[in-house]
């Protein structure tokens, strides 16, 4: 472990990827993640890596596709409108089973929206924003340190599964500075060979990276293989954190920046003896449904409150996990607005007092 350094989230993500052995970055400028390409453009040449500013997000994700095809650890980053453009490439990466690190520092939408933070790309990230039956691992960090750790993890998981992994941050996580410690650096030269990589036969058998199967039987077989991989991910990759849920009657479910704000609000309520806890999904796909299920089965929880910087997206996964056993309420801010701890407190109090809580909308 290195020493503690103060670093901006966007730059820390870049450094974490480099520590994980990523030497190739392809991206296109968009606020609020510009410090990632900027950092990579000066840092990668220092470690023998390559930075290319692509002509578009479409080109960037396809450069990642080509780079990953050659067997290298590659990444791209963007923010919401740019991530929409990358969906084609993400579908192809999944179809051809190529690893990649993709970072989305979400901003409010739809359309150009705003440059302020949001969590309104949850559906796009976890339900598959591109075409076809595919899944990507999605991590939702709540601090710069966790973003570093999950980015580092993501690069390895991507190679392990031969599948893209998405780190879902937001404008706040990208822009704020926090002390971080970086994990040990991985030397890309020491990584295992990828026998499937297309970098010239060099005396070996022909390799083909492809997502086209004109015969439907073969395409279904291919889909079955992909689904088996996603099942394995769902069985082994769930991550979450619980805070003060042991005796909580109301559990707030929130991820990323919002979870952090909720935690501050809930600590204030706990000090006043209000029985509230926090369930924080860390892996957003796979969603940690069994852990939430166990919490409900524990019998103390009487209701859940999903809080998001969106009009209500993750709340659907919370409802699926709750299976109607306890009411699931929602509180959200949208369009780049960030909820304050006091708003969460007020909402929780109203719910516990049986007030007419907001059941759905913003």
């Amino acid at each position: 472990m290195d020493e503690l350094v103060l670093m901006k989230g966007n730059e820390a993500v870049g450094e974490a990827a480099i520590r994980a052995g990523c030497r190739f970055f392809f991206g296109y400028p968009i606020t609020p993640q510009n410090e990632i390409p900027e950092y990579m453009s000066r840092r990668l040449p220092e470690v023998g890596g390559v930075f290319v500013q692509a002509e578009s997000e479409l080109a960037a994700i396809n450069m990642v596709y080509g780079c990953a095809a050659a067997g290298a650890r590659a990444m791209t980053s963007s923010s919401s409108p740019g991530i929409s453009l990358k969906q084609e490439g993400i579908s192809y990466l999944c179809g051809s089973e190529l690893p990649a690190l993709i970072v989305n520092m979400i901003r409010g939408g739809p359309g150009l929206g705003t440059i302020q933070p949001a969590q309104s790309d949850y559906f796009q990230a976890v339900k598959g924003g591109g075409h076809g039956d595919y899944r990507v691992l999605v991590y939702g960090p709540a601090s710069v340190q966790e973003m570093v750790d999950l980015t580092y993890l993501a690069v390895g998981r991507a190679d392990h599964y031969r599948n893209p992994v998405l780190v879902l941050g937001d404008g706040i996580l990208g822009q704020m500075m926090e002390p971080v410690r970086f994990p040990a650096a991985v030397d890309p030269a020491g990584l295992p060979e990828k026998p499937w990589a297309t970098n010239g036969r060099r005396g070996g058998p022909k390799r083909l990276l492809n997502s086209l199967y004109l015969e439907p039987e073969k395409c279904e077989d291919h889909n079955r293989e992909l689904q088996a991989k996603y099942c394995e991910m769902a069985a082994t990759e769930k991550r979450w954190e619980t805070v003060a849920t042991e005796d909580a009657e109301l559990v707030v479910v929130a991820y990323g920046t919002t979870a952090r704000i909720c935690r501050t609000g809930l600590e204030g309520l706990r000090e006043r003896g209000v029985p509230v806890g926090l369930f924080r999904p860390i892996s957003l796909w796979p969603f940690p449904d069994e852990a939430l299920d166990a919490l409900i089965e524990g019998g103390k929880v009487r209701s859940l409150l999903a809080v998001e910087m969106s009009a209500g997206q993750m709340v659907e996964d919370v409802r699926l996990a709750a299976r109607g056993r306890v009411p699931v309420h929602f509180y959200g801010r949208a369009g780049g607005m960030v909820p304050q701890p006091e708003e969460i407190q007020e909402h929780v109090r109203a719910l516990l007092e049986g007030g007419a809580a907001n059941a759905g909308g913003l």
Partner: protein
């Protein structure tokens, strides 16, 4: 017994799906022979497009990657940047390269990526059933320009070589029709130069091969070849447009193609 003619080993020993009279087979052969002659087959990686030649990944026996529609130059960029010792080529049709993939093409050229682009221009979308291409000629009837391409309605066909001629970063640029033994010999020479340009690290290289599509054009194969020679070359003059890297300058374009 002396073998006078055989399949290049860089082509897989399987039948292709191409229509009778289509010139994709010749183009494949020229690329395969070049990979052998330059002794780079073992480090070659081809990028297949979307279109009639999507299955090129089955026919070329080197490592192959299939790309999304139009994105082959971006995929080639990522691959070549990761493995500069690989010999990377894209094989793209006119819809893939000059319509949906125009941005990827022009920017890969402007970056001077050391890749080789083999561009098949047959002025039509073959795979999807004969729709209008960016290179469909004025007056040409297709399934989406049924009254014939009319500039006020469908716009003008794009001349890719003339466009790229002014792009700094391009080191080799040529257009050859695949219509006669003499022209095929010229095309062979150009394909070879386009790969040599990459091997010498000079920059971006593209060969446009004017090709026939008897099925899409509704013509017998011989008539289709004649149409390439007599009609297509009028709008798409053959020749070498660039043979060296360098600044093509910003003034009015006066230079036209010249026979290699």
């Amino acid at each position: 017994m002396r073998v006078a003619f055989e399949r290049p080993s860089a082509l897989a020993d399987i039948p292709t799906h191409y229509c009778p009279g289509c010139t994709h087979g010749i183009a494949h052969r020229l690329v395969a022979e070049t990979l052998e002659e330059l002794k780079v087959f073992d480090r070659a990686v081809g990028i297949a497009p979307v279109g009639c030649s999507v299955l090129a990944y089955n026919y070329f026996d080197c490592d192959m990657v299939q790309a999304a529609h139009g994105r082959a130059p971006a995929v080639a960029t990522g691959l070549k940047r990761a493995r500069p010792d690989a010999v990377v080529f894209t094989y793209q049709g006119d819809g893939d390269l000059a319509s949906i993939g125009m941005a990827e093409l022009v920017h890969a050229a402007a970056r001077g990526e050391c890749i080789t682009v083999v561009f098949i221009n047959n002025a039509i979308y073959g795979m999807t059933g004969g729709q209008m291409a960016p290179t469909t000629l004025l007056g040409q009837h297709t399934s989406t320009s049924p009254a014939g391409r009319e500039p006020g309605r469908e716009g003008f066909p794009i001349r890719v070589c003339e466009l790229l001629e002014r792009v700094r970063g391009v080191a080799y640029l040529a257009r050859i029709p695949l219509t006669s033994p003499a022209n095929v010999a010229r095309a062979r020479s150009s394909v070879r130069k386009a790969f040599q340009t990459q091997l010498e690290g000079k920059g971006f290289a593209l060969v446009e091969l004017l090709s026939s599509c008897p099925t899409g054009w509704g013509m017998p194969p011989r008539e289709a070849l004649r149409w390439v020679d007599e009609v297509m070359t009028e709008y798409y003059p053959p020749g070498e447009f660039r043979t060296e890297p360098g600044d093509p300058g910003g003034g009015p374009a006066g230079k036209r193609g010249s026979q290699p």
